[in-house]
């Protein structure tokens, strides 16, 4: 039986990846951030899973707007790192785990989740930045195979927070019903409060972020009860991507 050994969440802002790629982690502007990551990185280095799932969203790199899937799951053997318009990040392409993907698809579809299966997918900073946060120096390969779970957070209506938590719980059941004895890590990604456009651009809500950080640990159901409008009001139009943490938190 497979087992979930950790769930973690982090912002995926592209500049974190760019800072690492340019060796600026120790620059004054960046040091505090990377120092903050240090304890988690040390702990993660001791707890390498056999396979990881990254819950993320694409930003106009892997898919366009012809179709907008609420939830997508990759089933490929590998996922190439996308060139987002300024050259691709100097990080390894991603090795997938199709066998676990097929199991997850079957289990989740049987459980009433209407996934879109991706047989081909290029992954962008939403996916690679969390991997870099976890593994600063991957060398030729990431520490283990990784499966992408895509979430629509950019086109309204996004899935509800409640639906995301329910998907996470079903994901936990799906993983635990996998017949192989493997360990699984789940990464939730997405920034905390932020907004990019409108007169409210630059909006940050530290009180809400602190509330979210506490509740994601102690009471995720309280977060799942927030409406889409409330999330946008409290966390900004892009901060709504926090709903992806609830999928990570489900298992």
């Amino acid at each position: 039986m497979a087992e979930v050994i950790w769930g973690l969440a982090t912002s995926h802002v592209p500049s974190i990846g760019a800072a690492m790629d340019r060796g600026k982690s120790d620059d004054p502007a960046w040091k505090a951030l990377f120092d903050g990551y240090a304890p988690a990185r040390a702990w993660l280095a001791e707890h390498r899973p056999d396979v990881a799932i990254v819950v993320y969203n694409d930003h106009a790199n892997g898919i366009d707007l012809d179709f907008v899937p609420t939830f997508g799951l990759g089933t490929a053997e590998r996922y190439d790192v996308a060139d987002e318009g300024f050259g691709r990040r100097p990080v390894p392409d991603v090795v997938g785990d199709p066998e676990l993907s097929f199991h997850l698809v079957e289990s989740l579809v049987d459980d009433g989740f209407d996934l879109t299966i991706f047989q081909e997918l290029d992954v962008d900073h939403g996916f690679t930045v969390p991997l870099s946060v976890w593994t600063p120096d991957p060398g030729d390969a990431w520490p283990c195979p990784v499966i992408p779970l895509l979430v629509n957070v950019i086109q309204y209506p996004q899935p509800t927070a409640a639906r995301c938590l329910a998907l996470g719980q079903a994901l936990g059941r799906a993983i635990r019903s996998y017949p192989k004895d493997v360990t699984v890590g789940v990464l939730g990604t997405g920034g905390m409060s932020h907004q990019l456009a409108g007169t409210r651009a630059g909006f940050i809500n530290p009180e809400f972020d602190a509330f979210w950080m506490e509740k994601i640990e102690t009471d995720p159901a309280a977060l799942a009860a927030l409406s889409r409008e409330e999330l946008i009001r409290q966390a900004g139009s892009e901060g709504i991507e926090l709903i992806m943490w609830l999928i990570m938190r489900g298992p």
Partner: protein, 122 residues
Amino acid sequence: MSTGSGAGRRDLPGTPIFDGDTSRRGLRMNKLFMSLRDAGSRERFLADEAAYCQEFGLTAEQEQAVLDRDWQAMIDLGGSIFYVYKLAMMDGRSMQYLGGVFTGMGEENFLAAMKAGGRRDG
């Protein structure tokens, strides 16, 4: 804020909502922006921006917004910020520059506000 966005239907002041309606209006323009990930496309775009806009089927208003680098108009006419940003990147503009435009603060003040911990409501 923008009358063209879905925001008016919800009580979210200053916050454009990229909803289905907005996405439909902006579809061709967002496709153009996404195409700029590719170096060859950026070259073709820069060689004749108007022709490139027409190739993608932009409306006259959208074309004008792109030619004028009227970032606010692009959002109002259905642009998704993640897609619009591809054009800004090509121009060497940062997200903070765009923030300066959208807020009317200018890049410098916007950056300063972000370094001070971000902006608040009201």
